[in-house]
Symmetry: C2
Subunit: 273 residues, 2 copies
DNA sequence: CACCCCTAAGTTGTCTGACAACATTCGAAT
DNA sequence: ATTCGAATGTTGTCAGACAACTTAGGGGTG
């Protein structure tokens, strides 16, 4: 492993060194707790200054695979693997890769992961929801209903509804994951709630699906809740014009459980307050 | 906002500054794309050197809420929220918090999240698996079968099997999430594959559940695959002695689909090569 | 007046050197 | 043999400087 220069033309010397250092660690087969070379040694080995080495190590620390103790040294963290999960591997790698357009395929993949979690979350929510949590969902639904009539944006309330469903599972991990997913691409909810979305009826359709999810959860019908959540995700994919082919099979699955268990727990939500 | 000294006696000045800076950003209500003060200004404001400021900003960059452009400045990232998802909020916060024992409740919660993803992944895998991916699962199964006879550890192959299932969804996001979850707590698989696990039959039971998952996926029976995956997770919870109460309802659900669609695609896996 | 190039100032990225805080080690005194 | 302490090495922090880059503004040209 010689100098870095030349091989990588990329900017941000520190991230290059961080990558090479991480590769070197796994390549050397260093186990948890193993001590890394000192900063001075690394400086010589990579041919960069200590500032760069420190910044690279700082990156690895933030990534969780390295830990440092002042006066002692740097060590491989106990959990050497990835401690964090990020969507869309392509982006968020270097620095500000805002312009890296996410492909439709990637969005479709993420929606599918959403499907897995949200369908299951709706299922569990139907089994465990408390009155307070139902009220929280209803409040979000109501805000969306108002926005539907006034033609305003309500993607925040959309997100809040889904988080409320996840919260009703009484599982903080699921709730946090849902919040994470929602925050990640609130952009994908924009086409539903902007002017075009209101005009084309996307907002109305989405809201109807939300109501169906809520009703199933309120009724305690886990299968119907799963089906309604699946239908909602499939509808979102359709509205975004993504690849529908992959979702055909899931549509078929959800149709096993007809959503006839709808009851009248909530009234006045559809027409907004 | 005055100097930092005194208020926080804690070590790692940079992480303190990082926290204060992050708090300052949200407190100022800076929106995505807003420019942060220059490093020189921040040095004066926090009363620290530029190295500390740079390390603090580096942390925020790694966290994803800040982005820098050389020659221009530092900006609030487009997605101000969390870009990464980490399990177990308590740990992995500061440095080496190895000793923070994870509660049974947290493990149970994480298993439930695993259930959501793995059950859905098995479902999708049954619909999309290719011969190559089936072979990959079979190879992992075979390695586990060998380990079952020799009484050796195979938790790595256990993980590999589940990742292979996730890979069969043809969805890299799901695969990466499964790999993430598996890596996170490979510890939880140890009680299945250590000596005690072999003696108590836990390894055998787990392997039988794996085979059932594989057979359902090989047969292309999505419902059976979901049921088998659910049964596997429920079995794992039982073996770990976690709270079984929460899993009763899920067990009931899986029983809707009797796993009678088992066929004989694979032979010789149960008895190990 | 509109447009383009080019200079200048400002900002982040990197380098260098030094000192402080802390950990480890090894020798000396008890 | 045990304990204490100094020496040494490592990371954390500080200070100053230059390089690479971006941006804004001025001057020239059409």
């Amino acid at each position: 492993m010689g100098a870095v220069k030349g091989s990588e033309r990329g900017p941000r010397l520190s991230v290059v060194v961080a990558g090479q250092l991480e590769a070197w660690i796994s390549e050397q087969g260093l186990k948890a707790g193993a001590q890394l070379p000192t900063e001075k040694v690394l400086c010589e080995r990579f041919g960069v200054s200590r500032a760069v080495i420190r910044e690279a190590i700082s990156r690895l620390k933030a990534d969780g695979c390295v830990m440092t103790r002042q006066g002692s040294g740097a060590y491989v963290a106990a959990r050497p693997g990835q401690v964090t999960f990020r969507l869309v591997r392509g982006a968020a790698n270097g620095e500000g890769t805002e312009d890296s357009a996410i492909s439709d395929r990637e969005i479709s993949d993420i929606f599918e992961l959403r499907y897995l979690v949200e369908a299951g979350a709706a299922e569990l929510a139907a089994l465990r929801r408390s009155p307070q949590e139902l009220e929280r969902m209803r409040a979000a639904l109501e805000r969306m209903a108002v926005a539907l009539q006034t033609g305003t944006d309500a993607h925040t309330d959309d997100d809040a509804f889904h988080v409320a469903v996840a919260a009703a599972t009484h599982n903080p991990q699921i709730e946090r994951f849902q919040a994470f997913m929602g925050q990640q691409f609130s952009d994908s909810r924009a086409p539903t709630w902007n002017e075009a979305g209101h005009r084309s009826g996307h907002a109305r359709d989405s809201q109807a699906e939300h109501v169906r999810i809520f009703e199933a959860i309120a009724a305690g019908d886990a299968a119907a809740a799963r089906a309604a959540a699946t239908a909602h995700l499939a509808g979102a994919v359709r509205r975004l014009g993504l690849d529908e082919r992959r979702w055909g099979a899931l549509d078929a699955m959800k149709r096993e459980h007809a959503p006839d268990a709808r009851n009248e727990v909530l009234h006045g939500v559809e027409e907004g307050r």
